[in-house]
Subunit: 284 residues, 6 copies
């Protein structure tokens, strides 16, 4: 008798019950302002992850020693943004309630809002570490409150001042930078300077870690909706991920891979490797 | 003194006042179910139309003899579908009220609903000629009533039975084909058989003509969200357009070019040539 | 509790026990003489099949009414050709022994040899219907007996004269055409002329049906290792598949999709639609 | 002792002395009005021709039985158009003086003018058979007399009325079609209708045969500078080539493959197959 | 009443009269020696610039505060190089005579010669700052004096020794490097070392600043005719631009984006960001 | 009389007799585990090398002063791995026996084994310098001993402990790293640290230098079968090559360019430049 075809991200094949972290995909990109396609990220990452090794020589750890379950993709409705956020929140809540750590693969950055809502419901003292090229602090985008360009502003409405730490930022409207400077978020431009200090200050506060992959320089990550030159290097990002994961990350995501814009496949391979390193760095 | 840079679709450079037809772009694709990117169509078509001649040897007519004004693209909000439809309806209404014929370049197929609303407001006896690979008759798509897969169903809610004529259809859910057969629309599968008779029956009834370019075979039009093999040929389409335009077309659109999926540029060139032939065929 | 992520080809989700046909992928392309990449076909087809409907308006049948199980891909060793053929033969034999019909997704065309061996073991009176642009009748290719350019010659060694019927052939060495003419195979060049007569003659003989997708014209199927202009049309192919499936097909395959060579995705969409029509046409 | 690396188009490996036809490449595209890149055609065709067989089942002939020498590419100066035409004329003259038939691979269509000059010098009664999507009859293009859009007009200045026969034409300025109708050339629009009669009338007149590959439909030949939908099919073109080659072709060329615009490689494969069929059809 | 469709580079929408800087495109690439396509740069940059913000966090300045007019593209004749240079010179002269700063978007690098002629006519003491991967100092290229590989040599003929400062150079014929060393130009290989000193020495001398974007490493800028590994980084380039703009730049250009060779769009995004930073850095 | 078309890598046009180094291509990729296509490397590199200069400003040397012969590509049989290695060994042996230095262009990395065998036969004291992203130390890959993932392990079986020095390694199975640490090879992870010391220790020992180009970061070299982020920079690689070539390199290769995966052409340009610098650095 033959078995059905179970597809998981590289090495994430333990059972749900014993899993400590749970992957899920959120294939949604309806509010993308420039180039869509982030909907394809989770599916393509699973398919291409078999080109990667489970072992990390950076960390000397192996995914085969981790307990991660891949629960597949949500089926989300393009065009009904509020419902999409509810579906994401429900999945993240289930995982959190079962005492596991949700790891979401976007989709565009707006999907983060659904997962942040779930984490905030469980951890009222939630803080956010945000890696990105873009501020994402607009109050609205052409009138829409629910937009990938406004997602951190929406998170701020939930969490309030002093809870959000942004790194790598190098693009935004002038008013967004000014709004951040008024004390609403801690915006660290261009790179990861200040991250060590931030992590020390956060001590054991619960952290939602959202990683917009376009924080990377587009030379190594061209496959994204809004490529923005002048980004951080791959090894810099790995170091920063390890720093964040020394903190108490309770939920996290990576987002904004738009694989069709990089037909060399490198952007997908990079996203897979970042996810492997993230999964190996988390305190499970 | 130097002039600003006015960009129009090939040869569509008369003034608004004297224009008989008015182009506008509706760059929207948030409800696309499979592969997005139709938002880029109007902009790319304007840019690439200079590779085409204004003269048609098929019709022995020249765009330089036509009075068409290109009013550019609407600025639409990705993620707020209802507002998008209102914006489209407003633009189409303005053009209709000024006694001109609106010619819309989508975007995904849902944009048609905004323009149909405007045309229906002016012409309560409106009929729809629909060229497409897909039925677009779903009642909803994953719960969303406003979806490109449901656009003709929404138009039917406005117009009622016996007003919609579909040609070239070769894909859909079984229930959609059955629903059509119950008499709600006249669904002609696979090709343009029956079009001549339809046009004769319609006599001088006001027609909204919506042309989903994926009615073409993907060999000649791969650059679309949901390519569906077994489509009509390019010359077949030109003939069918000429047949429809002998009727009283009061508004029209072409849609679903997703140019990034065809990096040879052929799909864009085809869309431009179809638009030229449409503009030259309309009774202005 | 969340479920693992089962990926199947569109609508092929019944259990193994009740299945009448069983899919499996054979991702192998080591002997490809010109452009490799057919190894990616089965995986990409599963991923992209969700862009297709389960319902066929050509046949008025629906995959949801069929009992097909997708057993995923074999794990094959690039570079050890003989072992690969053994692995394929084993999988096909298991399915045949369980009284089900194996449907293999290549891979390059050599994979057919493994499945033909299995079918021949069960059906000594086996006949082969072969759709292809290429003769595949070489005795060897640069010395290699096991090559995708020699696969039908190898099948002939097993089955003998008068058992193999080739259609659509438009490329090969002069000596291959001559060898066929000597009575070894029935080679019908260029198109499907003679297929109806062939199927009538075969009556209820057991048939292995091997469909090299490059029989299609490269305008509609560019994503293949050796594109060969002058091929058959998509609707011609559907008709021919239906003709073959009126016979007693006991095993079959489609092969030679090399998806990376067609970045528009059309070739993959075509392969998926061909497979859907094949699954709906088989006498199950 | 090892040999140097001689690269020829498929099977064109006889010595110069015994050759009856001589290939050469003219990599030039400086006057291309829309999308350049035809400069890469000859080099890419040589490299990719090994994916093709030397045997033609259409003609039952084999390139290994033909005496064709490939003399490689001219080194042409981008930006100095007149010198380029002189260099081409010199190469074609050498081949003609040696009693052989020159077969040129463009390059953009303007290169034809150099070879026509050479052929006209030897054959004052020269006639031209011209396959193309475009008229190429402009008197000038933005002031330039030497432009690929004016090449047939320039040839006409040399040859005069009644010498040029155009087929497949479907694009041009209105004035170009009118100028042709005034009796300067015999312009057959859209397809090859009238070719049989033309060839009969030409009897044994010396013919320069220039084949702009964009006469093909862009579904099968997207890799060209100015793709123009509505073209002829591949098998139609093969038939037309055979008809022309029954006449007394004294020199010929194929041109306007721009391989980078078709990353599937199909356009290059098509060009190679067309060249093979042309070489096998010529009266050598 | 609807307005015509005015397309400008991001935020360059003031009127001509009040403008301090004036953009224009020079879409020409006929003398490109390797891969053409720079003709598409200006048009594609305008279209894609809407993916960029007007605000620069590097400079804390905003394009909305600058007075820049975009006068669109010149209509240049491919194949008539001398006329092209005259047309460019005329446009640049008009802008200079009106007391504004011309900012040209190439096209291949030869277009610089036309603008340098105009600037030299007004500023006989003109100096040139040249960023490039290539020397561009050939006396001729295959006999052509007007070639993109000879453009700086042509500028030197106008300006004489000691007026030209080259940075980032990492490719050229041995004789070109030797010729520079003889004192004709100040050639700084590989990077921007020496730029600070150069700018200090130039004091308030009038400067023509020509920026061949292939000075960037091809990892971040693959979309160019002759990619040359080992280039400068993006942030290095921004710093160097700011240094140059502290001097008295009287005219400038960026050139050699060939967008079709980078289908990820990153090269175009980089060119747009470089132009934004240049416009924000100029002393207006 | 016209000459045949000899194609060589840039400037490698001396006669075999006088040559000091001899190039040959080994177009084979049948054992590639992830993405094939390295078979195309040597052919594409020859074709594209004309976009490069023969002069190196890094070394102030010129290929026109070197005596290198390009003997073209071997004709290898896809699917018969052992025969392929014999053919490669034979070619390398011929060159070595003639007192020249073989420089092989792969192909996947397994081709190295054939050349190492030849070099080891002549130099029993052979050492290997290995640049790569991957360990290539597997004992087998899915059972195959002859796999590109096992090539260095096979070389070790020949040479024994202490003979192999690996640099830049950042991917592999955990057991491979452990096996290396047991003293079988000197594995230097991530970069070239330790290379200077290694070269000093090797003194004048005979060296086989194998350079898997995927040691480069995929930002600058995306066109390879298994891109692995975090690689070395281009200038770092040039420096390391110069260091190795100060030693006594008796044979060498570069491998794993898979050009179709980088349609910008940058990866090919990089490979050509690396080969130029290697040829200029060797002690000839």
């Amino acid at each position: 008798m033959l078995n059905p075809n179970v597809e998981t991200f590289l090495g994430c094949d333990c059972g749900y019950e014993e899993a400590e972290a749970v992957l899920f995909g959120a294939p949604f990109d309806s509010t993308t302002s420039y180039r869509p396609g982030a909907r394809f990220a989770s599916r393509v990452m699973r398919a291409e992850s078999y080109g990667l090794e489970t072992y990390s020589p950076y960390l000397d750890r192996d995914l085969t020693d981790r307990k991660v379950f891949d629960s597949g993709d949500l089926e989300l409705c393009f065009g009904d943004t509020e419902q999409v956020l509810l579906d994401i929140e429900a999945r993240a809540s289930t995982i959190l309630e079962d005492g596991k750590l949700p790891v979401m693969i976007g989709g565009e950055h707006l999907v983060t809002l659904g997962a942040v809502r779930a984490a905030f419901a469980k951890y009222p003292d939630l803080h956010v570490i945000h890696f990105d090229a873009h501020t994402d602090l607009r109050d609205d985008y052409l009138g829409a409150k629910l937009s990938h360009a406004a997602v951190i502003r929406r998170a701020w409405e939930l969490l309030g001042d002093g809870r959000i730490y942004q790194f790598g930022i190098r693009s935004g409207d002038r008013s967004e930078f000014q709004w951040a400077k008024e004390g609403h978020t801690a915006l660290h431009p261009f790179d990861f300077e200040g991250l060590a200090q931030t992590m020390e200050n956060l001590s054991d506060k619960p952290i939602y870690f959202t990683l917009d992959l376009d924080v990377l320089d587009p030379s190594i990550f061209p496959g994204t909706g809004t490529p923005e030159a002048g980004g951080v290097g791959f090894l810099d990002l790995l170091r920063a991920i390890r720093q964040v994961c020394k903190g108490r990350v309770v939920a996290c995501d990576i987002n904004e891979l738009s694989p069709h814009y990089d037909q060399s496949g490198v952007s997908t391979a990079v996203a897979c490797k970042v996810l492997r390193e993230l999964l190996l760095s988390l305190r499970l």
